[in-house]
């Protein structure tokens, strides 16, 4: 269980950070988008960097959904915050953007916030409500099947 949490946190963070940086690299090829020619944005889908970025973000999305299925939203969200550290590091190395000391300090504070939440409980405890919810969804599913039939 502990290993599962760490693994899903890392998967979410790495895929998110790498995905954003790859998208930015792709948008550099594309150039600035003007509101008068907004359809230009669809050219993004034939750029290999953008496609790779989207693949990374798809991996992020799957791990994110899996985490949401067994943990609170406010517990899972900070995992994406780990991605900022990776984004800042990759933009410095890979995109050659200047990352000022202030931004590094910001990244550090965000990381502290993430660490704080990650060490707490992952799911709000509400045994009675959970069973009630389960019942509700079972009923609605039965209704849907009835309507289909």
């Amino acid at each position: 269980m502990k290993f599962k949490k760490i693994f899903i946190y890392l998967a979410i963070a790495c895929c998110n950070g790498a995905g954003d940086v790859l998208l930015k690299r792709g948008m550099q090829n594309l150039g600035e988008i003007h509101l008068s020619r907004w359809t230009h944005i669809f050219n993004a889908f034939i750029d290999p960097w953008i496609i790779l970025g989207i693949l990374f973000l798809a991996g992020f999305f799957y791990s994110y959904l899996t985490a949401l299925s067994w943990a609170d939203l406010t517990y899972v969200l900070p995992a994406t915050a780990f991605g900022y550290v990776i984004t800042a590091f990759l933009s410095r190395v890979f995109l050659h953007e200047t990352v000022s000391p202030w931004r590094w300090a910001g990244v550090l504070l965000i990381t502290c916030g993430v660490g704080l939440v990650a060490r707490g409980p992952s799911l709000t405890e509400r045994p009675t409500k959970d069973t009630a919810l389960g019942k509700d969804s079972a009923i609605s599913r039965a209704k849907e099947q009835h309507e289909l039939a």
């Binding site: 998110n16 988008i33 299925s69 609170d72 916030g113």
Partner: protein
């Protein structure tokens, strides 16, 4: 003018993606543990469960809209500013929505971490 354009795109991105996050979270809680379903019945069953959930599809629409805002914002500003600023503002906004809409137990620890992320964002803009 340019920074106003950039922050408008970031604002729209934040609103759309926190609404999407809250809907996804509610949808996934209704489906149950995806890992358990995948191990017992396979990946296709998981995908089947997920795409039949209306709340998931609605949340996905919000996220697709926010993705286009992200692409636009990235073409106007640095990735090391746009990505962290939008994602962490989304974090604050989603924490508030999770507290009041999903009734999650957002305790002192989680609020403190939300505050740390908020100050972190202010530093990122410097």
């Amino acid at each position: 003018m340019n920074s106003l354009k950039l922050w408008t795109a970031i604002g729209m991105l934040v609103l759309a993606s926190s609404a999407g996050d809250v809907m996804l979270s509610a949808a996934m809680k209704r489906i149950g543990d995806l890992d358990a379903i995948r191990i017992n019945k396979g990946l296709l069953t998981v995908i089947g469960h997920v795409v039949r959930e209306k709340l998931f599809l609605l949340g996905l629409c919000c996220l697709i809209f926010s993705f286009f805002c992200l692409l636009t914002a990235l073409s106007w500003g640095d990735a090391s500013l746009v990505a962290p600023a939008s994602a962490s503002l989304t974090y604050i906004c989603s924490a508030i929505l999770a507290k009041f809409l999903l009734h999650e137990n957002v305790d002192r620890r989680r609020w403190l971490s939300a505050a740390l992320v908020c100050v972190g964002v202010l530093l990122l803009v410097k």
